[in-house]
């Protein structure tokens, strides 16, 4: 298994399938009364969050705790970082304290890669700038797999602010890696002209794409982008690229609606659309825990020390 998870691009198809298969068995742990296995007992996982995050940080924290790891949450506000400590010195400090894994969220693209050069702990990218969010892509693939027999030929429309979205980058590369086809949809100002080189198709016309989509994946649109003039008004954006109730009807039967959260209800997604049965947004959150458990378990070598414990504990435990 990989030492660090910095980009979805590091994973080949087999590795992705293995992570998802392992997550499958961990999801069951979350349904038990006692939601805990001893796989990472005695290991230390540090959540190093330079950027505010609720769901990703909590998801990683729950994942590590369900594996019995010790979890330290290091939020930069009020910390040594607020006193001006550099990323390098923070990294060396965590290293000296014996962290086995560092989960990092950072506003600077590439910060996890830079961090990985300074520490021996495994580094997990929990979102870096406008670069990547690989665990999000994996949990999205996991969620899609619950509904479709195969990724082969699967058509995923990713709609919105692709230019500034780390989710879009990871998801596009991930879907392509497992055999699906991504169409990026949004205003031309928010789709990099180089996106076809990522292996995606590009369209500016959401209505033309929806009838052919198996998954309609809506990206969060920050209001700041309107102030930066990437589009003229929220109203116009919403009218052209928002997922309204009427547009949902254009989707094929069985097509999923997804969103990485947090949602801007009424902007990129109509409120009642978010709550439709075919919307799997809360499933994404639930699955995030299982996928992150799978990654921590595989990357920290939990498979070696704890396989027998898990196998004795539950049916269908992950195997090596």
């Amino acid at each position: 298994m990989i030492k660090h998870l910095l980009s979805i691009d590091q994973l080949d198809r087999e590795a992705i399938v293995r992570i998802l298969d392992t997550a499958e068995s961990f999801r069951e742990v979350g349904t038990r009364v006692i939601k805990k296995v001893p796989a990472l007992r005695g290991r230390t996982v540090v959540n190093l969050f330079y950027e505010n995050s609720t769901r990703t940080r909590i998801s990683f924290e729950i994942a590590a705790k369900r594996l019995s790891a010790d979890v330290i949450n290091f939020a930069t506000a009020g910390s040594s970082v607020a006193k001006g400590e550099s990323l390098k010195d923070t990294a060396l400090t965590l290293q000296a304290m014996g962290a086995d894994a560092i989960v990092i969220r950072h506003s600077s693209s590439g910060a996890p890669l830079t961090l990985s050069r300074w520490v021996t702990a495994s580094v997990l990218n929990a979102g870096d700038g406008t670069h990547e969010h690989p665990t999000q892509a994996l949990l999205d693939l996991f969620t899609i797999r619950e509904h479709f027999a195969s990724f082969e030929g699967l058509r995923v429309a990713v709609v919105g602010d692709v230019r500034h979205s780390r989710v879009a980058r990871s998801l596009t590369l991930g879907v392509a890696r497992v055999g699906g086809q991504v169409t990026l949809v949004g205003p031309p100002t928010l789709i990099p002209p180089e996106a076809p080189a990522w292996g995606a198709e590009v369209s500016y016309d959401l209505d033309a794409v929806l009838p052919k989509a198996d998954v309609c994946y809506m990206l969060r649109v920050q209001r700041e982008r309107q102030r930066q003039q990437f589009f003229p008004s929220i109203r116009e954006y919403s009218r052209l690229w928002g997922l309204s109730r009427a547009r949902v009807d254009a989707l094929p039967d069985g097509a999923l609606i997804m969103h990485p959260g947090p949602m801007n209800r009424g902007v990129e997604i109509a409120s009642d659309v978010a709550d439709l049965p075919r919307s799997v947004i809360t499933d994404q959150v639930t699955n995030g825990i299982a996928v992150r458990m799978s990654l921590l378990y595989l990357m920290l070598g939990g498979a070696r020390v704890a396989n027998h414990v898990l196998a004795a504990d539950a049916e269908g435990a992950p195997g090596e």
Partner: protein, 429 residues
């Protein structure tokens, strides 16, 4: 001092053959085969190249104000180690070199170090703010030949027009780091495939070429003398070539890193490759190489930009742009351009010595290597290979874009007015 059996590459005299060069006191005493002198120390230069000392149009020596990055002394030592006998020091110091007092201070510091002639550039506008012209005449009286706001590209067309116009009275050159501010806002690298993949904010090549086009128009309007520094985009090259053909008084330089590297090299978020202007595509790089060979670009300039380790060992977008370059410039040109046959050695030497000396109007630099001329010389071994970073830099900084790369060509001796500043690869002071 007698340099025996060197291949003398002297663009000013078109010399390119094996010969002896005698140095007497501060001057060249003689050039020709079979020279001898009873009292001269003889240096065997078999297999070595002797050339006029190199001249750099664009170096940040950081003093006064940023001595934690570099000083005039350490920068001069790096220059000498790279074979340079003259450098033009950029004005973005603290205080800014926008008045004669700072110019005099930098010159004094350089004289005290005595390792390399330092020609301070003056700011075009006060505080590099792009609004009010500096006292250009007073600085020109103190020997300033080149004025630039460097990385604060003069945005106002009116201010740039007036600078080009006013400077005509003093035969000085107005140099521009061409970069449209609004089109490059928040930039971290070149805008293209790699910026889209790395999630880094890009500045397109057009942020440069738009300003080059404007400044060429202003140079034509004013008949002023324009220099475009560290050209990075293919489209700028096209505009410069066209401008020259139309008789506009324009010169231009390019850095070794833009000649050698591309935006694809940023894949590992290495902050020493974060430079301003950014590394661009291989098409841009190839256009720059061709333009240097055909003379559209007059000079190679290092844009030597030293930073302290803790400034570069940061997140990519938080690290300041710049790479050091004085100690690698010659070897990069030899390795990346002369080696593959993209430019002939004499032309490469011309772009590193005579070309920039002419732009600065330095009569004592860039050759010819001839009797009675000041003995500003470099001797290098064109074939020795070395790995950048294996031996310590003479610069106080170590943020080199070329660290870890194998380069061919090694400076052995640098001589400033008949005195060694570097001998056997080691600075003499």
């Amino acid at each position: 001092m007698l340099f025996r059996g060197a291949r003398l590459i002297d663009p000013a005299s078109n010399h390119r053959d094996r010969t002896d060069v005698l140095v007497e006191d501060e001057e060249v005493g003689g050039v020709g085969p079979g020279l001898s002198s009873a009292r001269a120390e003889v240096i065997d230069c078999d297999g070595l190249v002797l050339a006029p000392g190199l001249v750099d149009l664009h170096a940040h020596l950081r003093e006064p104000g940023f001595e934690h990055k570099e000083t005039v002394e350490s920068g001069s030592r790096a220059a000498a180690a790279g074979g340079f006998t003259a450098v033009c020091a950029m004005p973005n110091t603290d205080p800014v070199a926008d008045n004669a007092a700072v110019v005099i201070e930098v010159r004094n510091l350089a004289d005290k170090a005595g390792l390399c002639d330092v020609h301070p550039a003056g700011a075009i506008t006060r505080g590099l703010q792009g609004e009010t012209l500096t006292d250009i005449a007073e600085m020109a009286e103190h020997g300033v030949r080149l004025f630039t706001d460097d990385h604060n590209c003069v945005q106002s067309s009116r201010v740039m027009r007036l600078a080009l116009e006013y400077a005509k009275a003093f035969e000085v050159v107005i140099a521009q780091h061409a970069q449209d501010a609004s089109l490059s806002e928040g930039w971290q690298m070149h805008e293209g495939y790699y910026s889209s993949l790395l999630g880094l904010t890009g500045a397109p090549g057009e942020a440069e070429s738009i300003v080059v086009a404007r400044d060429l128009a202003l140079a034509r309007l004013t008949a002023g003398r324009l220099h475009v520094t560290h050209v990075s985009a293919a489209d700028s090259v096209r505009l410069l070539r066209d401008g020259r053909e139309r008789g506009i008084r324009v010169s231009a330089d390019v850095t070794p890193h833009h000649l050698a590297l591309t935006d694809g090299d940023l894949i590992g978020y290495d902050t020493s490759l974060r430079v301003n202007p950014p590394l661009r595509t291989s098409e841009d790089r190839d256009a720059l190489r061709a333009a240097l060979a055909d003379g559209t670009l007059d000079a190679v300039a290092t844009d030597h930009a030293p930073h302290a380790p803790e400034e570069k060992e940061q997140e990519f977008d938080q690290s300041p742009p710049g790479t050091i370059g004085l100690e690698t410039a010659l070897a990069v040109v030899l390795t990346e351009l002369v080696g593959p046959g993209l430019i002939e050695l004499p032309a490469a030497i011309e772009r590193l010595s005579l070309g920039p000396a002419r732009i600065l109007g330095l009569d004592d630099q860039g050759g010819p290597v001839a009797p009675g001329r000041p003995a500003n010389l470099v001797v290098f071994d064109p074939s020795t290979e070395w790995t950048v970073g294996d031996r310590p830099f003479q610069s106080q900084a170590r943020n080199s874009a070329f660290t870890g790369r194998r380069l061919r060509g090694c400076v052995l001796h640098t001589m400033l007015r008949g005195r060694f500043t570097v001998k056997e690869g080691q600075p003499t002071r």
